[in-house]
């Protein structure tokens, strides 16, 4: 039988664009200069597809979204459609959502529970662990023509899970998930392990924004926009009237582009312990080490980006002018559809240990504040679309954005956590670190993209 993996010559795309420009010249994170060109350019986008979306690690879903054997959700890994499934043995797996035969999409619902997946086109049937159980008209195949053992679903090349968050990568040479997350795990423990397990509640909200995906990621690690972009909420008293209110904290940059903030809220009890109910605070010490627990206790807000496009937002707010502030855990993912169009995912998550009344009010506040209808998020999306729209023209593309805040600031050695930390969470260190990783990835494009491959290992979870 012919080997289905055929080596093509690897594309050495490098950083030089067809126009003669070099990404090295127009993206200078260390100087805080990022050219508008990278935010609306089809050629840059094509390279991102291979160089970033074809090889980085990406969030696919949370284990709590598929609690039962046979549970399936349809998602993306990078930009490729995948199914995330808990197989009949309880193992979490992820596969390209495409039949091995003619490529038909196997799972055409957003979620399902199934023991087998049958393709509508010719009826090939797969188990939830990816084996091809039955092809079609099998006796019409000659010897060697249908090697079912080689025709299981295409697994996501690398699959891993940390604290219930399932990530995948299409790069066989990628480091392990643990290695890739590295010290980010220390902070993820605080967000996803402070009181025990975290649960993703229900389905995500999904919507499409006419913006570059990077404009949105840039915004998710930006603290000092809050006062200005969300000024309407300052006016209504839902946010403090001090423009510095979100600056009282630390930002951290880590290896591999991971970045995060921890910020104290106003000096009120509601803004301590990450906004969780006081009854849960004792759990911090049980589930975290002392330094982690202290961070959880002392802060109200946190935002983190698992490079490149998955974010947590831990916030304390209220969805109307009459209620008390409450903690919210919101997870966000951006999937690009084109250079200037992005599909947004927003999940509500909560501590399994949380009491019922807190769950309810936290959820309601989330819906009112975040996602497409959120009184916070609405205005962010106006920014994302308009920042993208102005970056399209040939003149705009000659000019850089400005990301210099804190470029000379010294790290704060007293911060108890790993990574490089800076006091004062107003600054653009995190963005600079994000773009530095982006540039590094664009320098080293993916493995030979043209090889006709057959899937390797069965699957690993």
């Amino acid at each position: 039988m012919a080997n289905e993996r055929v080596s093509g010559k690897a594309a050495q795309m490098g950083t030089r664009l067809a126009s003669g420009e070099d990404l090295e010249h127009i993206v200078r994170p260390e100087e805080g200069l990022i050219s508008r060109r990278i935010f609306a350019d089809p050629e840059v986008y094509e390279r991102e597809l291979e160089g970033i979306f074809g090889r980085a690690w990406f969030f696919i879903g949370h284990e709590s979204e598929i609690p039962e054997r046979g549970d399936i959700v349809a998602r993306q890994c990078g930009v490729d459609p995948v199914i995330l499934v808990r197989d009949q043995a309880g193992v979490v797996r992820a596969f390209l959502n495409s039949c091995r035969h003619r490529g038909m999409r196997l799972c055409r619902t957003d979620r399902d529970n199934a023991t087998t997946l049958r393709c509508p086109y010719h009826g090939w049937a797969y188990s939830t662990s990816g084996e091809l159980l039955a092809a079609s008209s099998e006796h019409h195949y000659g010897p060697g023509e249908l090697d079912k053992s080689q025709l299981g679903l295409i697994p996501v090349t690398r699959l891993g899970s940390y604290r219930g968050l399932v990530f995948g990568s299409w790069d066989p040479a990628a480091p392990s998930l643990e290695e890739w997350l590295g010290d980010m795990r220390w902070y993820m423990d605080i967000i996803f392990g402070r009181t025990g397990e975290i649960e993703f509640v229900g389905v995500p909200q999904i919507w499409d924004v006419e913006c570059c995906w990077k404009i949105a990621t840039d915004n998710f690690t930006d603290n000092f926009h809050v006062y200005w972009t969300h000024q309407s909420l300052v006016e209504l008293g839902l946010l403090p009237s001090d423009p510095d209110f979100a600056s009282h904290g630390h930002m951290v940059t880590l290896n591999n582009g991971h970045i995060l903030h921890f910020v104290q809220g106003p000096p009120m009890e509601a803004f301590q312990g990450l906004g969780l109910p006081k009854s849960l605070w004792p759990r911090f010490k049980e589930h975290l080490n002392p330094a982690q627990a202290q961070i959880a206790q002392a802060h109200g807000y946190s935002a983190g980006t698992m490079w490149p496009n998955f974010h947590w937002l831990q916030l304390v707010t209220t969805g109307d002018t009459k209620s008390e502030p409450v903690g919210i855990l919101n997870l966000r993912l951006e999937i690009p559809l084109s250079p200037t169009r992005t599909r947004m995912y927003s999940w509500f998550a909560i501590d399994e240990a949380a009491p019922a009344d807190y769950r309810k009010i936290s959820y309601e506040t989330y819906v009112r504040c975040f996602g497409p209808s959120g009184i916070f998020d609405q205005d962010d999306m106006e920014n994302w679309e308009e920042c993208t729209a102005t970056a399209r023209g040939p003149a705009a593309k000659r000019y850089a954005l400005h990301h210099k805040m804190g470029i000379g600031r010294s790290p704060d050695a007293t911060w108890p956590g790993p990574g490089t930390s800076y006091a004062d969470s107003y600054g653009e260190m995190t963005q600079r670190a994000w773009y530095a990783e982006w540039l590094r990835r664009m320098r080293h494009p993916a493995q030979a993209p043209g090889a006709v491959q057959r899937p390797r290992a069965r699957v690993a979870s």
Binding site: G202, D208, V209, R368
Partner: protein, 181 residues
């Protein structure tokens, strides 16, 4: 007032087009929609009952056997306070998503009115097509069915006691939902 209060959906409950009550409700719906399309949000929120539940569930693609795909998680899940907060926000000059304002149009068709077991409350369902454009954009569309519970508080005067906005898309092809339905 010829509304009969029997089991919901039974023919006797129906208030057919052409009946005075149907006309009254239609006029209410049209005037309410005009308030939204004219940016008269303060007047609009006055039409909401104190106990309003205003909800737009997230929809997912599901096999038919699993129902219509409306999920527990919502795009909107509002009470009177949160609606008033939204409206107050729209009165500021810094709610950038609507400053400058979008231009919407609420097209309501296929209105069906049914009595409930309370003489002053009516189940009112309507197809909605909301078009929206802002800046130089093409029209965005939101299509679906709205299921309202309207409460008659005086002749020709109603309050919205419940509104379920059953949108047809699973992925909202709009940057945000800064408009009301």
């Amino acid at each position: 007032m010829s509304v009969v209060r029997e089991a919901a959906g039974a023919p006797a409950d129906r208030c057919a087009p052409g009946k005075p009550l149907y006309g009254e409700i239609l006029e209410f719906l049209y005037r309410e929609a005009a308030l939204l399309d004219n940016n008269e949000f303060a007047a609009w929120v006055e039409l909401c009952a104190e106990d309003i539940h205003y909800v737009m569930p997230v929809r997912t693609t599901q096999f038919r056997a699993r129902g219509a795909g409306f999920e527990q998680v919502s795009f909107f899940d509002e009470n009177i306070n949160s609606l008033r907060t939204r409206v107050a926000r729209l009165q500021t000059e810094s709610a950038w998503a609507e400053t400058p304002p979008s231009r919407t149009r609420h097209f309501l068709t296929n209105v069906l009115v049914t009595g409930t077991d309370r003489p002053d409350e009516f189940a009112v369902a309507a197809n909605f097509l909301v078009t929206r454009t802002r800046a130089e954009q093409a029209y965005q569309m939101f299509a679906g069915r709205r299921e309202d519970l309207l409460r008659r508080v005086a002749p020709s005067e109603y309050r919205i006691a419940r509104r379920r906005i059953l949108v047809d898309q699973t992925v909202i092809t709009s940057a945000n939902l800064s408009v009301l339905f």
